[in-house]
Amino acid sequence: MAEATEEKKADADSKRVHTYPLIRHSDMNDEMKTEAMELCVTACEKFATNNENAAKMIKDTMDKKFGASWHAVVGEGYGFEITHEVKNLLYMFFGGNMAIIVWKCS
């Protein structure tokens, strides 16, 4: 039992540690990147249970801030191959299990 609890603790630790947003790939400039990342975090926290709404919020907000035709995907497991406008891509992990990709392509 003791071992089990310890393991759990360790797990909890790692999870706690690994909830920060981690930018996996991005070619945005720093300012845009920070803003987009914060937006993603906000959206995912707001709609923690509904990825669709989170993605919609990210997309809408990005459209407003940086012009039309943004696309956002929020999910825990998916594959993608996208064409994006250069300097308009953000691929990040968040919350330890969420992958968010935001890109612009009009």
Binding site: H18, R24, Y78, F80, I82, V86, Y91, F93
Partner: protein, 713 residues
Amino acid sequence: MPPKPIKAKAAPTSDPRKRSKRGDGDDLTEVGDGTEQDDWMQAKTLVKPDDQLELNETELKEEFTRILTANNPHAPQNIVRYSFKERQYKQTSSVDQLAVHFALDGNLLHKDSDEARRQLSRMGLSEQKEEEKEEEKEEVAEAEGGAAAEEGGEEGGAEGEGKEEGGEEGASPAPPVAKGGSKEKKLTNQFNFSDRASQTYNNPFRDRGTVTEPPPRASFASNVTQWEIFDAYQEDFEKQEKSKEKKVLPGRKEEGKTKKKFTMTETSNDDISRIESATKIVERMVNQNTYDDIAQDFKYWEDVSDEYRDQEGTLLPLWRFSFEKAKKLAITSVCWSPGYKDLFAVSCGSYDFMKQGNGLIIFWTLKNPSFPECFFEADSGVMCLDIHPQHQHYIAAGFYDGSVAVFSTVERRDGPIHRCTAKNGKHTDPVWQVRWQKDDADNNMNFYSISSDGRICLWTILKNEMVYQDVIRLCLPDVSAEGPDGIKVPTTGCGTAFDFHKQKDYLFLVGTEEGKVHICSKAYTSHFIDSIDAHNMAVYKVCWNHYHPKIFITCSADWTVKIWEMKDKMDKNEGGDDSRKPLFSFDLNNSVGDVAWSPYSSTVFAAVTSDGKAFVYDLNVNKYEPLCEQMVAQKKKTKLTHIDFNPTFPMVIVGDDRGNVISLKLSPNLRKMKAEKKGAPPVDEATKIQREVEKLEKILSMVREQPTEATAN
């Protein structure tokens, strides 16, 4: 008014009939009228159907009474209805007697009916209201006139045509005509119309388009899985941990950085060096293609005409080496590499005291005549160089400013690895020749230099420095005696050339600007073993024969090339200095810049002169005349400065005072070896040398017997 129009109207209807039936029967109007009447009557006869009963008079007169009643025989008469009023069934008295057998709705409307008016008003909207008013009036008139006209039509046929026509045209035209016109206008015939169309010119259209460049795009693909996310976090976490550690030890971090930088530069160097060899090969391939004909000539061409000329030969120009940076410099020395038979080095400087500038050392290879293999630039004119016979990447060079330097081709640096300064033994005048010597007892490399300041220096290269030692100071004993105040001023001789003996290490020759040739020994710094008044002007080159140990050649600005024999001390004492005469003397009719013994024969040498000619002599063939005298320089006034034989190939390189080096192939006559006996076993090196010495000795013996004859030339 009314009757007249009636006639007019009736006439046209009857007219055509008359004409068609009777032709020109104007005269028979009366009779015609009668028959006309009959015709009309006949037209009224009854037509009987075929199946009509034939009845006689009585039958016809019989009366049948038929009564038309309004009662419908088929109508039911026994309809009863329950009457609530009387509370009993009662027969209905009123039965509908009407039976319709056929009904057809017409599409005709009475003109005055409401509906017709409405239609008219709808259709005639476009017509003016005034017209409508007129119409109404006329309608009334027409109603009267129309009825009259029909009557008149029947009656008025009897009247004459002329009358009718006259009446029509004359008094009574207006109302009916006007009526007819207005009527037609009113009832427009929908099927009688014509289209009118016109087309305006279309304005010409012009298309103008432009396409903006789409924003640059890129593709990105990845896969998201929980484990990848986990791994990414894990990795990042570790990185963070590491960076934390680094922050704790800032010193280490810096170290890491510098290391990184170092590796970066290393790799970048690698990138360049990686393609360097490849590009070099490609460059040589291109050059091989470009100069293929020359390469073929170099390898295979032999002047066939030599067979028909006994004692003459030619020089075939091969590659010409010129370098942009050396364009305005003179070639001050040429030197084949002892190790690579296609490689040679030239030094570039200027012989003109007034036009001193920079200098160059250039390495050329026969494999690439278009660009030097490598080159060094110097701030002062390079007057001489020598490639180390064992360590061929070391080059000793002497400069016009009196310094000497050592360059290395393997160490990648632009400047020399050693260069003397005024502090450590630099000459005060131009250095005219440098020559490597065998390594000394401590295995240090060393070389000699000779300069116009009269010093001959030995330079020894130690690990980090170059140390010098004066070997000989040239002086002119006879001039020093001429002090005006009785003061003996030691005047220095100006060394211009030297050459070391091939076998005896200590022995060497020195040529001076005064025309003297000194035979010196390294052992004695103050005096010479022998001294010869060889020339009247500066000696430009002294050179030991490659085979015979006592024979050397000199050339000078006094237009001559002379061959000398070193005599033993005993001989010298016997003969005395003044009586020293050369074995051979050749006048080349211009200042002789350089002379060189051939490496393959003891009797062949070549010389170049300031008028652009190259000479090749073979004493074995002709003791008096050159086998070849050829203009080599491409432009007039170009001086040839130096010449050197290739150690293996039958070719020479010639340098001129415009920075060009020309390679020339010797024709067969110029390199005739001693006639080989056919079938004889190949001779070894020693016997070959022996034979060459014998060959020269044989000629010399002839000359020695009649010295006056030889020198007379």
